[in-house]
Symmetry: C2
Subunit: 398 residues, 2 copies
C-alpha cells in the first residue's frame, strides 16, 4: 500500500532540515497560499476594487469557508460560519447556550482548558451581572461535575498543555441527561483527528483556523450551531453583517437567518483568503488515516524518548483514546531545553512553567521524523545540552 | 507651487481609465501591499513559522499599527489599538463608556449613524438587561438631545449616506457639560480630513482600516482610549491577548495595562500586514492639504452637476464645515444610474433607497477627475442612460 501522505508534505513550505512540531500552535504554510494571495491582490482587490464583494465572492466567503471546514467536522452545509476569533465566537456561543437553560448560573469547564476560554467566560459572567460564574474542576472530574445547576459545559476536546483528550461522547451523554448545552472547542481537534459534530450531537462548537488547518497567523475562527437550534439561536453581538438585509441599512437590527447571525462586522477578507487557500491541502485526505498516522507518530516519539531517556516525565496519556495529536513532557528546565532543541533542528514549544510540547501534524511531518525528534529530545536532556546561559535567558514574549 | 499629490497616485494600483469614487467603502490598493505580502509569506510565516510571533514582530503588530494610525489622529503612542472589527470595538467602548456614567441608561445616537453602530448598541442594551436603550434623533437634533440621562453619546463624524459632517467640538462641549462620555466613530474621517483626538478631548474613538486607510477588504479596526482613562478602562470581552501575562497561562483573567485590554483573541496577522503596508502611503502627507483638496474635489463635482443637471438633488451640505469627503445625490433611479455610470468609467455606489454616493480620495483621485465625474453624472441623468433594463435588474448583494 502506498503512503497516502507521501505527497501532502510537498504541499507545504518548510525550511530545509527542520522537524517542525509546533503545527498545533501555527500550522506550516501551504504552498498554495502564495499564488492565491497574489491573485487576490492582483485580480480581486487591485482590479475589481469594491466590486470584489460580489464579483470575487468576498461577501459569501465566511459562509463558504464555514461549509468547507464543516465538511471536515461532520457538520452539514449552513451550520458553520467563519468569523472573528475563537475567543469572540466562544463569547457568542456561551450566551446562546445560556439562553437554552434559563435560570442556571454555572459555566462549567476544566482547569486544563485553554485560558482564553476561561477568561471569556469570566468576562461574560461579570458582564451579565446575574450571579453567573465560571466553575472549573480537574479534567478528570469534569464528567462528574455536570449537574442540574450547570448552564453550559465549555470543554476543549484536547488539552493544549498535555495532549490529554476528553471522552467527549461520555461528556455529551451526561450533559444531555442533565439538560446542559455543550460548547465544544475543537482548536486542537480539527485537522488533527476525526470529528463528527452530527454524531456527537453537541449544540455548539468553535475552533481556530491557524493550527492544524494551517490558515496563517491569527487566521479567523469558525463556529458551529446545531441545525435544529438555528431558528432560535441568538448572538448578543449585533452587527450589520449579521442583519437579515445588511444593504437595506434599516435602523433596527433584524437577525439574519440561522448561522449568518454569527457574523458581526466586515470580515477580514485578506486573512480569510489565506485560510481558503490553505484548506485545499485537505482534498482527498482521510481523517481516519490522519489519526492513525498521528498516533503512530506520538507512539514513535514516546518510545524513542523512553528508550534513551527513561526518566523524562511524559505528560501525555499513553492510552490512545485519551491522546490528542501532541506529545508533552515535563522537565524542570523545559524552556532552555526547547531552545537547545532548536539548535538540533527540532522546533517544539514551551508552555509555562515546565512543559515541553510537540505537535504532530501528519500532513507534513513523518513518523520517522517524530521518532528522530524523540531521539534528539533524549540527547538534549542526557547531554545537558540545555545547560547554557543563552538558552535560559528569556528575552522573547513566548 | 508643486502639487503635493502628483506622486501619491502612483502609490496605488488603479485600473486604467477608471474614476474610482468608492474609496470611502473600500480604498484602492497601495502598490506596496503586494511586495510586503509576498515578504510576509516568504520570510515570515513560510520561513520563521511560529517563531514569527516574536521574530517578525507579529505579537506587537496590533499596537504598532495602533500607534501609526494614532499619529494620524492626534492620539499619543499607546492610546490606539488595532483589533477585531469596528462593530466589536464599538461594543467594547460602549461598555467602557457606560461604566463612566453609572445609572444612566440611554445610549444616544442619530438616525444618520451607520447601522452597525446602532445594531451593536441595541444588542448591548438588550444583553445588559438593566433598562438600557438606544435613542436616536435626527442628526440636526443630536446636540440638543444630550442631557443628564444620557450614558454615552455614540456619534459618527461623517454621515455615510449624505456626507454630512457633525460639529464634533460642539457635541463634545455639550456632552462634557452634561457628564456624557463620547464614543466617536471616525470611519469616514480618518485619512479623509484632519482629526485631533487630543484636542477634541473625546473619551473613546473607533474606526475601520479599509476606507480612506486603504487596508484591504475587511481590514481590522482601531480603537482609541483617552490616556487618563486607561488605568480604569475595562473591556467586557476578555481574551488571552488582553491578559497582563498571556504566556503565563494563568487560570484567572488579569487585564493587561491600558490599551492592551482592547485585545481579545489572536490577531489576524495576514490582514494586519496588508494594513501596515497600506499605511506607508501617508508618509509626508499633510492632512490639512488632503482636506483642502477633498473640498476642491467636492466643490468641482457639485458645480459640474449643478451646471449640467441643475435638477439633481444634492444631499451633501454646501457648507464646507458641514461636509465630509463625499458627495451624494438623491435620484429616484439611483441604483440604475450608478450602474450606468460604471459603463461611463465612473465607479460610485448606491445606498438604498435612492442615494448615489461618491467618495473623494485625494491621494489617488484628482480634482479634474472629480469634475469630470460630475459631468458624466449629469450626462447619464440627462440622457437617461440609466433607463435600460439590465441596469435595473438587481442580481447582486450590494
Amino acid at each position: 500500500m502506498s503512503d497516502p501522505f507521501a505527497t501532502t508534505r510537498d504541499l507545504f513550505e518548510l525550511p530545509e532540515g527542520l522537524i517542525y512540531m509546533v503545527g498545533n500552535s501555527l500550522g506550516a504554510m501551504p504552498r498554495g497560499v502564495k499564488p492565491r494571495m497574489a491573485a487576490m491582490l492582483n485580480e480581486e482587490w487591485g482590479a475589481q476594487l469594491v466590486a470584489g464583494w460580489n464579483g470575487a465572492g468576498w461577501f459569501d466567503l465566511p459562509r463558504r469557508l464555514g461549509d468547507r471546514i464543516g465538511a471536515m467536522l461532520g457538520a452539514p452545509p449552513g451550520s458553520v460560519m467563519v468569523a472573528d476569533s475563537t475567543t469572540l465566537n466562544t463569547f457568542k456561543l456561551l450566551v446562546a447556550a445560556l439562553r437554552l437553560a434559563p435560570g442556571r448560573r454555572v459555566i462549567l469547564s476544566d482547569k486544563g482548558n485553554f485560558p482564553t476560554d476561561l477568561y471569556v467566560a469570566q468576562g461574560l459572567a461579570g458582564m451579565l451581572g446575574q450571579g453567573h460564574r465560571l466553575e472549573t474542576v480537574a479534567p478528570e472530574a469534569l464528567e462528574g461535575a455536570i449537574g442540574a445547576d450547570v448552564g453550559v459545559l465549555l470543554v476543549t476536546e484536547v488539552d493544549y498543555s498535555t495532549g490529554r483528550r476528553h471522552d467527549v461522547p461520555a461528556l455529551v451523554t451526561r450533559a444531555r441527561a442533565h439538560g446542559v448545552p455543550v460548547v465544544l472547542d475543537l482548536c486542537h481537534s480539527a485537522g488533527a483527528l476525526p470529528v463528527d459534530l452530527t454524531a456527537l450531537g453537541v449544540e455548539f462548537a468553535v475552533g481556530c483556523g491557524y493550527k492544524y488547518l494551517n490558515g496563517g497567523p491569527g487566521a479567523p475562527s469558525y463556529a458551529y450551531v446545531r441545525p435544529d437550534l438555528q431558528a432560535d439561536f441568538a448572538s448578543p453581538l449585533w452587527g450589520w453583517m449579521g442583519h437579515a438585509a445588511p444593504f437595506d441599512f434599516a435602523p433596527d437590527y433584524r437577525p439574519a437567518e440561522g448561522i449568518n447571525r454569527l457574523r458581526v462586522g466586515t470580515p477580514p477578507i485578506v486573512s480569510m483568503t489565506a485560510l481558503d487557500a490553505a484548506l485545499d491541502v485537505w482534498a482527498g485526505v482521510d481523517m481516519a488515516m490522519v489519526r492513525t498516522r498521528s498516533l503512530a507518530m506520538s507512539d514513535a516519539m514516546i518510545a524513542a524518548v523512553a528508550a534513551d531517556c527513561p526518566g523524562l516525565e511524559l505528560l501525555t496519556p499513553r492510552d490512545h483514546a485519551a491522546r490528542g495529536s501532541q506529545v508533552c513532557f515535563r522537565f524542570e528546565h523545559a524552556y532552555a531545553a526547547i531552545r537547545a532543541l532548536m539548535a538540533e533542528g527540532v522546533h517544539g514549544d514551551f508552555r509555562a512553567p515546565h512543559t515541553m510540547r510537540f505537535g504532530l501534524t501528519p500532513l507534513y511531518v513523518s513518523v520517522a521524523e517524530a521518532e528522530e525528534a524523540g531521539r534528539r529530545i533524549a540527547r538534549v536532556i542526557n547531554r545537558r545540552a540545555w545547560d547554557r546561559p543563552e538558552y535560559h535567558a528569556r528575552t522573547a514574549v513566548t
